[in-house]
Each structure stands twice: as structure tokens, then as C-alpha cells.
Symmetry: C2
Subunit: 125 residues, 2 copies
């Protein structure tokens, strides 16, 4: 059974979440071996949260799960792409469709992405 | 002047190279502050080679440079997308258009990507 090469990045490799229909890159997070196994088993993107240091099923809090349609692996086995169906239409915790909602221009960042929800409505304490 | 947050990943953040026309993800590599400055200044994707531990202007050996058309930054300032025009049509040192030329299927990897050149013709010793 193939597994990504988790040795290189201290047990973590980057996983790019890409919209399986539009090709838009929605986010990048990290997976460890447990995340990989869980993603394969469940069919939903499951990352490793570096800040909380725990398994992170994307959308567990917000309901905005990522159904994995296809997995691509790079030539060095140390990066993967999850081609996903983003439930709810937004991957970013700030409410944007993509975490990459800002464009660099002449030294500044300019918001160009589409906002889908207000985080205050979704992440209630 | 905006800069990515290089502190988190030991001075490196991942940079996703994405075809500016098709949206295909071609590769992922890492940049440090010097790479960032050089990419902005030159207009060509310049990474940091973790294996060679030096600045790496993509395509310097093969001629297959990456002209940067747009830069997107994620919500945490710790990942960037270079939307590029891939000169020569191939980003992967194995001759494929994309480094993500293999698909994971039932525990195995299956080549699904398009091969543009034979590495033996390009990387002569």
C-alpha cells in the first residue's frame, strides 16, 4: 500500500485542497500518517492541526466538510493534492471560498476572493 | 511592504505553482525571504532548494522558467500561490507537465499525467 513519505517533514507533508470542479486551490494544510489513513478510510479530508497538535477533520465544527474525490501525489511522494467537493462552498475559517482570497500587488495585499459566510454565525463559542 | 510569515516553518513557507491559465497545480516547493524577494524582483519563480540548501531559480538548468503572473497569499500568511506561465510546458524534472502526475487508487499510484520531455535530453551531465 502506498503512503506518502512522512519522514522528510518531521512526520508531516503538505496537502493542497483543490476544488475538483473549478481547479481553484482552496487551502493548504498538513497531514501525518494518521491523517492520511483517516482520509482514505472516511473519504473526507482529515488534516493534522499544527497549532492544536491533533487530528483535524476539516469541517467538524463548521459542518463544511471536504469530500475527497481524487488524490494526486507528487514526484517526490512528499506533497499530495486532495481534489475535493467543498461542502457549504467555503474552505476558509474567515468565511471565504478559498484561504487564498488576497492578491499581492505592489507590496500590498488586496482582497479579491469571494466571501460565503460570516465567521461569527458559524463559529459560535 | 508585505512579506509572508517565514517564522513558522523555520524560515520556509510552501509555494504552490499553479498554471495561470488552466488552474492545474504544477508543483509545490519552498521559499525563504531571499526567494520571495528574488521572485518579486525578477518576475520568475525562485525557490529555496531544501536538498541543495541554496537559492533555486526554477528552470535555471532546464530553461523551463516560470514567469509569475500573479501571487496569492493565504489567510495565515504562511502559504503562497504563484500563478505562472510554465515556459516549455513542463514543471516536473521527470518530464511531466505537473509533478502531480500520479493518482492514488486502491492503495496504488497510477500515472495519469502528460509527459512533455525525456529528462535524459534535458539534464545532461
Amino acid at each position: 500500500m502506498f503512503k506518502p513519505d512522512f519522514k522528510k517533514g518531521d512526520g508531516l507533508v503538505p496537502a493542497i485542497a483543490q476544488d475538483y470542479k473549478t481547479g481553484d486551490v482552496l487551502m493548504l494544510a498538513y497531514i501525518n500518517e494518521e491523517s492520511w489513513n483517516e482520509t482514505i478510510k472516511s473519504g473526507y479530508a482529515t488534516y493534522w492541526s499544527r497549532s492544536r497538535n491533533k487530528l483535524w477533520k476539516k469541517g467538524d465544527t463548521s459542518g463544511m466538510l471536504q469530500e475527497v474525490k481524487e488524490i494526486l501525489v507528487d514526484c517526490d511522494d512528499d506533497t499530495v493534492i486532495f481534489k475535493i467537493d467543498q461542502i457549504g462552498g467555503a474552505a476558509c475559517h474567515e468565511g471565504y471560498r478559498s484561504c487564498f482570497f488576497r492578491k499581492y500587488e505592489n507590496g500590498e495585499l488586496k482582497v479579491t476572493g469571494e466571501r460565503i459566510f460570516d465567521p461569527k454565525d458559524v463559529y459560535k463559542k
